[in-house]
Amino acid sequence: MSKDFSIHVEHVTRVEGHGNITLNVKNGSIEKLEWSVVEAPRFFEAMLRGQQFNELRPITSRICGICSIGHSLASLKATEDALGVKLSEQTELFRRLAIHAENMQSHILHIGYLVAPDLLGVGSVFPLIGSKHTDTVLKIVKLHRLANEMSDLICGRTIHPIRLVVGGFSMFPTEKQLVHLQKRLEEARSLTQELATVIHSVADKLPAFERETEYIALSTPKEYAFYDGDLTSTDTGTLKDYKKYQEITNEYLVPQSTAKYAKHHRDSYMVGALARFNLNSKQLHPAAQDVAKLFGLKAINYNPFMNTIAQLVEFMHNIEDSLQLIDTVLNQGIKDEKPVKPKVQAGRGVGLVEVPRGLLIHDYTLNSKGYCTKANCIIPTNQNHANIQKDMEKLVPEIINRPEKEIELTLEMLVRAYDPCISCSTHYLDVTFV
């Protein structure tokens, strides 16, 4: 089969940020195939220089609207690590609730608003309203609203949280508010099961594609890791010293992208819900394991399109674990704790968290007056760019004889499956061209 065609998707839609796909085929063979990030660079690491330790959190929150809670937590963990702050148990519990809330709002946004239209054969969620899928859309809206209101309650605001401060929280919700949230989370269980059934009925639209790769995520014997854990790879196991994270996240720059790429043990690796599932699935709550079973999702799964399903599985886990955390908080009673006041000192701190799109790392060096002299942020989407490119290189030859429109849609769906957050990923430091 020999044919000539070219596909150029400028600014892939229904993803966060600006990325392009280029494919040129001549005589049936690929001349050029490129995933490129064209977002304007934003220079966060440069902007953090000279900022006081209290300002690092509100500034880095603005790296990303979708994962602003995750950036806030990575930032606080790095700052508190540098200043040697010991947090209260209550703060640790509420921070876990914050990360669950964000994971839920981001995952349901991706599953419902960004991916579902592909599975249901439409261009966006809008035409689904008034169609036979109205009921499904309303379920998605209800779950999205709950996740947002949970973020509001714990963090003061969904996008760019306010209550997350160095040493703790500026304010806590009341017990009455938490009891109300508990009831709503219980209702969300059955809604999520219903949504899983609907997605399952169209899951055959997810391409059956596989490529073996390395998966990296935080992992801990204590729990399915989001807020805390050790850097772990499916290829090489656990990294002992978290401050040496750069041994894993080797970043490099390619000329077609304003975002960095990363590689570790192979040409590329993947982070995100599927990576976490592949490393930690045994620690999922039974209700979440049931969702995985429904889709036949088992570790290790090498199909990147299943990332969306892994998100759905995690969504259920977030609900269940939040309910347990709220139980613990209510049994102990909420204390009116003020944030721990740090002793200002020079030092370096590194904060690692799992955010919706995967492993996020902030690394700050502070001087003796508490001002930042050097900053580095490792963003999940940057770690996935190379893996997206490598997936495309394996995927295109497998589908090259299909109609152009189908190839184009499949490539877009691949990018979307990673739930890329491109605004986040344009920022870099100390890079070299390859």
Binding site: E16, A40, R42, A46, E55, S68, S124, I162
Partner: protein, 254 residues
């Protein structure tokens, strides 16, 4: 029946959080769709059209290629709305304007050779109105969803939206908060434009000035607060380093 105005949403350098606030309107988006047609909104829809009346522009302008794209958008649109702090005042992206573009390039890219690569050709950060004329402003980092609905509805109905020209303190007092200065914090509320329902001080955190500064004369109503804590407009102005870098007192919607 008169045709509904056609709305397109565009984004430049930013976190896309303000667009997300639009998506977070949930069911209330349906009310908006009653009065406007959304014809382009890349973050949530695949369809795109260059035929629109109202362009909503989010983000700061960093590169010559972005300026070109913005001018094209302006030429298509009858009305242009700047959405969120990055677009209205340059937002936190202006922090880097204290250094020359070459310096930040070196700090972040090291010695990588990016000469001649237009993706990396960066100017100082600009707000949208430093490149093209802006008709309306929706302030905040992020925007307030109610204010967004108010502004878009007003434009669609041919009315002038009402944007507060008084300080955050007015809304903060209404919420019966303890003054941040009383708690020992430094707050930009007395000289920052209201309209956010004083959300930060209400969550026990000082105002960072994300909605831009009001004019000195408009702070008359908080004279007492300033006197109590022995502060002047200029004293607070000097502390506006996060959102209002390099800006003089201003009323951008004038």
């Amino acid at each position: 029946m008169k045709q509904k105005p056609r709305v397109a949403v565009f984004d430049f350098a930013d976190c896309e959080g303000c667009e997300l606030e639009i998506a977070d309107l949930e069911e209330e988006i349906l009310d908006l769709i009653e009065i406007v047609d959304i014809v382009s909104f890349r973050e949530v829809m695949k369809e795109h059209s260059d035929n629109y009346d109202i362009a909503i522009v989010e983000g700061s302008i960093m590169r010559p290629i972005d300026e070109q794209r913005l001018r094209k958008i302006r030429s298509h649109a009858k009305v242009l709305v700047a959405l969120g702090a990055c677009a209205t005042i340059g937002g936190i992206n202006k922090i880097r304007n204290q250094w020359m573009p070459d310096e930040v390039m070196k700090e972040v890219y090291g010695n990588a050779n990016v000469k001649g690569n237009e993706l990396f050709n960066v100017n100082k950060t600009k707000a949208v109105n430093e490149v093209v004329p802006v008709d309306y402003y929706i302030h905040g980092c992020p925007i307030d969803r109610d204010e967004f609905k108010h502004v878009i509805t007003s434009i669609a109905l041919g009315k002038k939206p009402e944007i507060p020209r008084y300080p955050v303190c007015v809304e903060c007092k209404k919420n019966e908060n303890i003054c941040q200065f009383e708690l020992g914090n430094f707050c930009l509320g007395p000289i920052t434009r209201a309209g956010c329902k004083a959300i930060c001080p209400t969550n026990n955190s000082p105002c960072e000035g994300c909605r831009g500064l009001i004019k000195k004369a408009e702070t008359e109503c908080v004279k007492e607060v300033l006197e109590r804590y022995k502060l002047s407009y200029e004293d607070i102005r000097r502390r506006c380093t996060m959102y209002n870098y390099g800006r003089e007192e201003c009323g951008v919607d004038e």
